[in-house]
Amino acid sequence: MAEIDHFMPLLMQHEEEGLICPVMSHGSVHFMWIKHSNLYLVATTNKNSNASLVYSFLYKLVEVFTEYFKELEEESIQDNFVVVYELLDELMDFGFPQTTDSKILQEYITQEGAKLEVAKTKVPTTVTNAVSWRSEGIKYKKNEVFIDVIESINVLVRWNVNANGSVMSSDIVGSIKLKTMLSGMPELRLGLNDRVLFALTGRDKGKTVVMEDVKFHQCVRLSRFESDRTISFIPPDGESELMSYRINTHVKPLIWIESVIEKFSHSRVEIMVKAKGQFKKQSVANNVEVRVPVPSDADSPKFKTSTGNAKYVPEKNLVVWTIKSFPGGKEFLMRAHFGLPSVENDEMEGKPPITVKFEIPYFTVSGIQVRYMKIIEKSGYQALPWVRYITQSGDYQLRTNV
């Protein structure tokens, strides 16, 4: 019996006892696992290994597989088992991570049989290349770069005894994504309204932002960023995430929710939810979804909304109130009424928070801006950078006071 065969029974056993833990042991073997959709990715070790390294690697596997199969799930593994074998072979040798950059892997592993004859004679350029994330000889008719600045806000709001909502914690997680369609080996330089940069250069005009926990794609020259905050790089071809950051400021919740949930045992639940857009009047939040939890034994829903649609999702014990477009400064109302059975469910139920989903285009909460994007290539072509801003909800929770 292979060691991995102990994994599932062990997991079941832990699940039953309610003691799920990302590390489990069987004899001298430790299983470190992550779950992705309906798949378990398991690493085994019998040493006192570096845990964070192992988990990072497992997540890297997910990332690589997803890039190959679009969706990583049981079916995609079954359909692509040959590629899975090939990938694992390249990703790891004798338990040591080897090549994990998906761009490079794509040159080692050719999915289609048809491409194979070419691969036989062509040595992957990156095997010897200094710029491992970009191959030479890329050509586009029209040279363009698309820059997406995406910010997600995480908010946790709680009500105290006096029904005053207060923001317990909030932060902004931002990410700048690129879609590069440029020929040759272009040199790019990105300018942001970074406060540290402005302070360095002695400039002091307009709004600036302070970024924390900045992470870059490996293509960015970190030494330059550290010395003079310049973000300069040779971009990977196609889509990639150039950088991510976190801003730890007190953010005003962009969509404020007030709720009154009254539960009359054995008869009914009455819910009143007020949503208010606390952002600029010119902006519009799209696809707003307010998810309000209801007791699992509620029945016969009735709704009244000032705008949008409310829908009961019994399998998730939620009312989902959808507003297609929500202008800033406006206030909307939803009332819901549910019946409760006379025989009460005595199982204890948690108190899930109200969650909100939304996206606001052409707007960033932090005020971050792309000031310029310089593109220099030795052939001297002109290229256009396109910038798009979007703010969306991340982990946006408002605890209820029932």
Partner: protein, 828 residues
């Protein structure tokens, strides 16, 4: 898992594989092989196709090659003879102009894992080391590690090792890191790859070129390096500074680990490094991945052991999200308990109260016990919450609350009034045996203050026949006995019934024996019984130290950034479910063998630093110190829990009491010593200062009375380790009490044992005793101590050592004296 009809499948596949028509058609041939691999992946035993697959190996199609290799590597061990046939093809592939083919062949050659093939593999591997393509060299380097793993007993080929060392200078960073990995594996017996100054500097310079995995590997291996000078050390540290705040948690953690190992002699630098990683660590706690979050939390717990205040202001980052898994919530609560302070306690308790009603019962119970922990320092607020929770009448909540209250009352006896009030009526919603045991214990100990105690016990006694839990029965016996002592009238009858049942009908021997013991005890008279049953109570005059004492970083540094911190917590929570506080047994943590000892040189430093002060007070300490000729080191591990300390202390007290008080007590495994130290300001010293000072020399203080109270006392312990002869090390455990009564005319009995000669002095006012200063003159054995009127500032030190080791005890005493004098003069 054998599939139905697997034989048919194999037969069909074999037919297809050996069909010349298919063999000549590239695409059909490959599809057939694909089918074989698919069957293999699904668990069909296709090992019978081995010879057909060997033939399919000779092809120009890379995908087909890869597929065949997957097959061969899975089944090679079943067909060692046939595998020999593959070697030829593989060796030919090693000459292929395409580097991908070469690396593929080389990798699979080493993956076959057949010792019989080693001789054929060595030559292409050696050639592979000098291949011009980096990807081939990468494979070749690791190939040697695999070969060594295959035959661990074989001799290490020095030529290969040299070649690998020289490849550390390879232009490709992955080749360099693989060399480190391979050498580490091959030289495992010799302690891994040797790291000298040029290698270290080379690796550090190339760190930036490596990917995340490579950086972690390099940083880990560099932990073995010891810089030759302080300048070099700081050069290295400044080079590593950028990685310390790396956005990749594994790199950040590996760098911190390296920092801690390099700076093990420089606590201030280590602390600065910990401050520096706070940001990245907090960021990792908010990582998208649950597992990374979990790992970060576990490591933060390690840091907090040494720097409790590190995350204080960021406590909100450890609030639990609704959808987080239980294992993260529990860790977060453990961290929150550590972070509590006067400013955030209200907010924190409010948040924890919310978790008490979590749907997951384990989470709810952890939250309740977390509140109990905070209750040790903020008892009123916590008791209010706990009492409120009882009102919910939920079984698992009530059980956890009662257990928490029991533990709280043991450490903070002043809470007992509130607890007694809360107990009324909660037996109705108690189902599990742990909760009922806790209730019974409380009823036994505080029975006189809980009005309904006898009635509650009666219900238990009436139902004892159907009781299944052994623990509950034992606890019930003890509780009824205790209640009988304070409320005999109401309890006598039911005690009789219970004893009768347990002795006559009970089938479990433990319960029966316990009942018999109590029965016979009652025959000895009520006073005797009282003595036995009320023997152990916690001392209300002793406040428990708030929070855990800060440990030295070296205590956990070696387990940082490994799997161990992730596993530790589970052990702690397991031991958290236990019986009454009296029965608590302390499970030593699994890492105690990573013992951290303070070496003698450090103690010397303490001495020299405090010379000026000791001179002034001029006590016996200097003589003592100079008398130590053997290296002595103190250490805090294995840690001793307060309960365990009390147990040992009282046990030895009892032993001592049995002896004739006028005679010196001397047993083989245990020694007892009392001593007076002249240090007037000590009892006015703040507990924090005293604790910090003691910790500097690895003495752990366990409990204090607040300053300025009388009698003032402190309990402490340490482990000594002394190298007597070549390899023999003696290690002993020393327990100590510092007592300051402040009364001048107290009766002081001074006892000390020094080898064969015992000197016992009854110190009384009328006895003329020499001043301490004079006493120091004639060395150790003749030393006498003063108990005169004027000497009221003397702190009485009682030491208990196990096993006996006089030299170590003296050494310890001298260290202790020095610390006390230093502190005392600091205050003055």
């Amino acid at each position: 898992m054998p599939y139905l009809g697997s034989e048919d499948t194999v037969r069909e596949l074999r037919r297809a594989l050996s069909n010349p028509n298919i063999q000549s058609d590239q695409l059909r041939y490959r599809n057939t092989i694909l089918k074989v691999i698919r069957a293999m992946s699904q668990g069909v035993d296709v090992s019978g196709l081995f010879s057909e697959m060997v033939k399919a190996c000779a092809t120009v199609d890379i995908v087909q090659k890869k597929l065949v290799y997957v097959f061969l590597c899975s089944y090679a061990s079943l067909n060692p003879e046939l595998s020999l046939l593959v070697i030829n093809t593989l060796r030919k592939d090693c000459q292929d102009p395409n580097p991908m083919v070469r690396s593929l062949a080389l990798r699979n050659m080493t993956n076959l894992r057949l010792p019989s093939l080693v001789e054929y593999v060595e030559q292409p591997l050696t050639a592979g080391l000098r291949d011009r393509a980096a990807c081939v060299r990468r494979v070749a380097v690791l190939g040697f590690a695999k070969l060594h793993n295959l035959q661990t007993n074989s001799e290490i080929d020095a030529a290969v090792v040299n070649e690998l060392y020289s490849l550390l200078r390879d232009p490709d960073p992955v080749v360099m890191v693989n060399c480190l990995r391979a050498l580490e594996e091959i030289l495992k017996e010799e302690g891994g790859v040797a790291i000298n100054k040029p290698i270290t500097h080379h690796l550090l310079n190339r760190l930036k070129e490596c990917d995340v995995w490579g950086q972690c590997e390099v940083l880990r291996i560099l932990q073995r390096y010891r810089p030759q000078s302080e300048d070099e050390l700081f050069d290295i540290l400044s080079l590593l500074d950028a990685s310390l705040v790396s956005p990749h948690p594994p790199v950040m953690a590996a760098t911190l680990s390296l920092f801690l190992s390099l700076c093990s002699g420089l606590p201030a630098v280590s602390l600065a490094a910990l401050e520096r990683v706070r940001g990245p660590l907090l960021a990792a706690c908010g990582s998208m991945s649950r597992e990374m979050r979990f790992t970060a939390l576990c490591h933060i717990q390690l840091l907090l052991r040494s720097v409790p205040g590190l995350m204080g202001v960021h406590y909100k980052r450890f609030f639990c999200g609704y959808a987080e898994p239980a294992y993260i919530k529990q860790r977060k609560m453990q961290v929150l308990v550590e972070l509590v302070n006067d400013e955030n306690v209200a907010m924190l308790l409010d948040e924890l109260r919310g978790y008490c009603t979590d749907v997951n019962t384990d989470t709810a119970q952890s939250a309740i016990s977390a509140i109990g922990h905070i209750g040790r320092s903020y008892s009123d607020r916590c008791l209010e919450i706990l009492t409120g929770l009882l009102g919910l009448k939920q079984e698992h909540i009530t059980s956890a609350v009662v257990q928490t209250m029991r533990d709280l009352v043991w450490v903070c006896p002043q809470c007992s009034d509130t607890v007694c009030l809360a107990l009324e009526g909660c037996e109705e919603s108690l189902q599990d045996s742990q909760g009922r045991q806790a209730l019974l214990w409380l009823l036994g100990v505080y029975g006189e203050r809980v009005s309904c105690a006898p009635y509650t016990l009666e219900v238990f006694i009436d139902g004892v026949r159907s009781e299944t839990s052994l623990g509950v029965k034992m606890e019930l016996l003890t509780a009824t006995m205790r209640l009988f002592l304070c409320r005999p009238a109401e309890t006598q009858d039911m005690l009789g019934r219970l004893l009768h049942y347990c002795i006559e009908e009970e089938t479990d021997m433990c319960v029966r024996d316990q009942a018999l013991l109590y029965y016979r005890l009652l025959h000895c008279g009520i006073e005797e019984t009282r003595k036995v049953l009320h023997g152990r109570r916690s001392d209300p005059s002793l406040g428990v130290l708030i929070g855990r004492p800060a440990e030295p970083i070296s205590q956990w540094a070696c387990s940082f950034n490994t799997l161990e911190p992730l596993r530790q917590g589970t052990i702690e929570t397991e031991s958290a479910s236990r019986g009454s506080p009296e029965h608590v047994t302390f499970d030593p943590k699994p890492n105690t063998d990573l013992s951290d000892t303070l070496n003698y040189s450090h103690i010397e430093k303490v001495h020299s630093g405090s010379d000026s002060t000791t001179q002034r007070t001029d006590s016996s300490a200097d003589i003592l110190a100079s008398n130590i000729t053997v290296p002595l080191s103190l250490s805090l591990s294995p840690a001793l829990s307060p309960e365990e300390f009390e147990h040992l202390w009282l046990q030895q007290q009892a032993l001592h009491a049995e002896q004739d008080p006028e005679k010196m007590k001397e047993e083989e495994d245990y020694t007892y010593m009392e001593e007076r130290i002249h240090c007037p300001a000590i009892p006015h010293c703040s507990p924090q200062n005293l604790q910090a000072a003691m910790q500097l020399v690895n003495i752990q203080t366990l409990a204090f009375t607040p300053p300025h109270t009388l009698p003032w006392r402190v309990y402490l312990y340490t482990h000594t380790q002394r190298t007597s002869s070549a390899d023999m090390t003696h290690s002993t455990l020393i327990l100590g009490e510092l007592l300051y009564t402040g009364e001048a005319n107290q009766k002081v009995r001074v006892k000390k044992g020094t080898g064969d000669r015992e000197v016992v002095v009854e110190g009384r006012e009328d006895v003329q005793i020499k001043e301490q200063e004079e006493a120091t003159g004639d060395g150790l054995s003749g030393r006498e101590l003063s108990g005169k009127d004027g000497e009221e500032e003397g702190v009485k030190v009682t030491l208990k050592q196990q096993p006996r080791d006089d030299k170590a005890l003296k050494g310890f005493l001298s260290i202790l004296t020095t610390v006390l004098h230093t502190l005392s003069s600091d205050r003055a």
